[in-house]
Symmetry: C2
Subunit: 187 residues, 2 copies
Amino acid sequence: MEKVNIGSQGFTLPMPQAILGTHIEGRPNYMALGWVTRVNYSPPLIGIGVHKGHATHQAITETGQFSINFPSTEMVNITDYVGLVSNKRVDKSELFDRFYGELKDAPLIKECPLSLECKLYETVSLPTNTLFIGEIVGTWCEERYMTDGVPDISKIKPFVLTMPDNRYWEVGRCVGHAWKAGKALKK
Amino acid sequence: MEKVNIGSQGFTLPMPQAILGTHIEGRPNYMALGWVTRVNYSPPLIGIGVHKGHATHQAITETGQFSINFPSTEMVNITDYVGLVSNKRVDKSELFDRFYGELKDAPLIKECPLSLECKLYETVSLPTNTLFIGEIVGTWCEERYMTDGVPDISKIKPFVLTMPDNRYWEVGRCVGHAWKAGKALKK
């Protein structure tokens, strides 16, 4: 069938859905985050694209710390909510229970099965967004969400985001093993 | 339940699974790509983390162009395969049918329901990987994979990757609408 060019606003399919945690004037704040990926293996670096207009943008610039928390599907509404309302108008500091690891300005969300605490490693200023690159200093989970000591997506039940249709999706069944499934094609 | 710190090698949960296309000495080459995210809204910029040892790394440095292709679940084995074998040992140029948009060194994969063609915008050198930031100049899809002119994940059926357990997962049902689901929580 014919390929058509639908323009330059393409998106990854799908995006992981996370909640970005920061401290603003000493109080926790949260926003929905879909633009996030690992960018370096060693040290473990992760990049996030944050719009320059967000309160979170200023928070990361000031404290040099942030958290990336992965909610489960039962947290769809609250995750969407923290993306809808700004700290400039609504105090979101008590929306979640929180805990801290090594970094005192990276609030980790207790309700989220998986959380990463990050310290700012490098800042890449782009036209409308800033790409903050953080070094992961801790990965927090619970035994009930892990198998063999490793986070298990079938227990965590996170959700993913698609744009520009703006929908959230659950993750389904396992369809293969990475760095294994392709071995049959090797000559 | 108790939160435990499982170390610094945390990953986004899950990662989109793509195939990165480049030209090496005028011939197409492909590798599996899980470290990818949008990083800027306008212009539309996308970032990819590529290990410095990969042939693809040299290709992007030389041509300044690449493609990001999203395979469907029926392409799990071939997607994994292009991540297992290096261009240094195996010629992968004829693995897929290809087409081109505006960029002559960004081979787009016909078998993939969704493809982005990108030209290099900025290069961020990190210790083990390079973060290549590309500007999206075209988004290619087919009518049968879209609804109301927009790529539809339920028709495209891509898959996602988890690390460090190294598994591929299909995407399940829709669990909410972004920028809408949280409105009920607004006061």
